[in-house]
Symmetry: C7
């Protein structure tokens, strides 16, 4: 996991490793293939650093290791060691899968 | 209900299980089929966590179990165990059916 | 009035029962039929719950029973027991007819 | 004046009775007919109720009886006893004619 | 000057008497005729009344008599005694000519 | 320099004397001619007066005499004694050349 | 490094020396060539000066020497001694490569 620890997201961004998309697996969280704005599942690898209005650091509501639903379009894709990751603002994350 | 408890909405989002649409049932809440932006009825399954300007947690005005009116378009659809749900921002919910 | 009490508006929304439109009745409040954005008359049935910047509850400037002028387009229509109502944000209400 | 007192504007709105438009009267305030966004003259009939950021009531800078310049487009027209009035936000009023 | 004193600008607006446009006068402030958004020179006749976030009155940075540069488009033209004036928001004024 | 001292910028504006554009001079700051939004070099002649949220005056980060990079489009051009200047908002200035 | 120290970024801007783009180098951070909005790698050369809501100076989350991911489009290109640099707002920087 040395390579993924290479990126520290800036601001309210979260580094997410997207799960490969599969269709219609019962018993798990499945993203519909007909929805216009399809969310994806992914795993949080690293979080940034965000501030309140007085520029004091505040906590994120996700942490590394969380499985999250993220909008399919909206983040920025980066490649680390040939593998794709997403840098997404935390407020764009939809939910945590528990 | 194990499966629906799998998603914890992030931010001011609410997880809603939409009611199947029916037309013109007297004695209940019916959504008109001619309105341009038709609201739907649904049940709140889970709520997120939201903050005031000082980043202190504040209460939602809906709670799990509430029957709510939600805009037909505006949320994000997710599938859990083959069933469709909506992740909607609380401020987009129109009302609670009591 | 059991049925209309079924909806509790959320946020700064107001549930309004629109008056059927009539044209040019002298001695009352009449909405012109040539204006591009025609307001309607209605009666406030229920109000939501709104907050100031510190998330403290603040009063509405309308109350149930008030006759109000509302923009014709802008709210969301719902049907209760086959009758049409509007869910409108309070700041979109134009005035109270006294 | 019983009829005009029937409307209490909501929020930062002002009820204005527009003056009939005339062209080029010297010695008075005349609105040019070539300007793209022509202001109109009118008389303030009633004012709403507005709040500062702490939801405390603050004064309007116009009062009933003031002659004001208002943008020709921007308010909402209502008819009271067959006569046209405008509901305009105070910040859209251009000036007071003294 | 009786007539120009007739208008009290509202809000952060300033009443400006525009100087007739001339082209290329050396030794003075000249507005280029090729610039897309040409500023004009004018004289401040009257100022409005503006407030800080606590609704306390704050000073303008221009005063009656100041010669100002104003954007050619952006204000609202009014006629007083057959002469054209501009009602312009103070933040749209570009500079004071001293 | 009598003439340039004639303009006092208003608000957060800065009066800048643009340097004539040259192409590809090594050893100096050169603006590329292929960039879509080309910055220009200029000299600060005068600064305005800006305020924080409590309407207290705050310092500019540039001062008269500073050589600055400014966006080619975005300011307003004025002519003083037949010479072109720019009135630019301070937040649009890109950097200071030291 | 005399030449790059010539530019002091203004506001929340950061001066970045972009790394020449290479395709698919394993073991390093690689930007995909198919992504619509491709980020680039670069090195922070200088940072500006930014303020909180009370106009007190606050720290940047990057410092000179940091290797950063920056959006390909969004900054402003400048040339120093014939070499291209980017002036980018800090909030547009995506992450730091560690």
């Amino acid at each position: 996991m040395a390579s993924t620890s290479k990126i520290r997201p800036l601001g309210d961004r979260v580094l997410v490793e997207p799960k490969e998309e599969k269709e219609e697996v019962r018993g798990g969280i499945i993203i519909p293939d007909t929805a216009k704005e399809k969310p994806m599942e992914g795993k949080v690898i690293a979080i940034g650093k965000k501030y309140d209005k007085d520029h004091k650091s505040v906590d994120f509501d996700v942490k590394p290791g969380d499985r999250v639903l993220l909008p399919k379009y909206g983040g920025t894709e980066v490649k680390i060691d040939g593998k794709k990751y997403q840098l997404v603002r935390e407020e764009d994350l939809l939910g945590v899968i528990e």
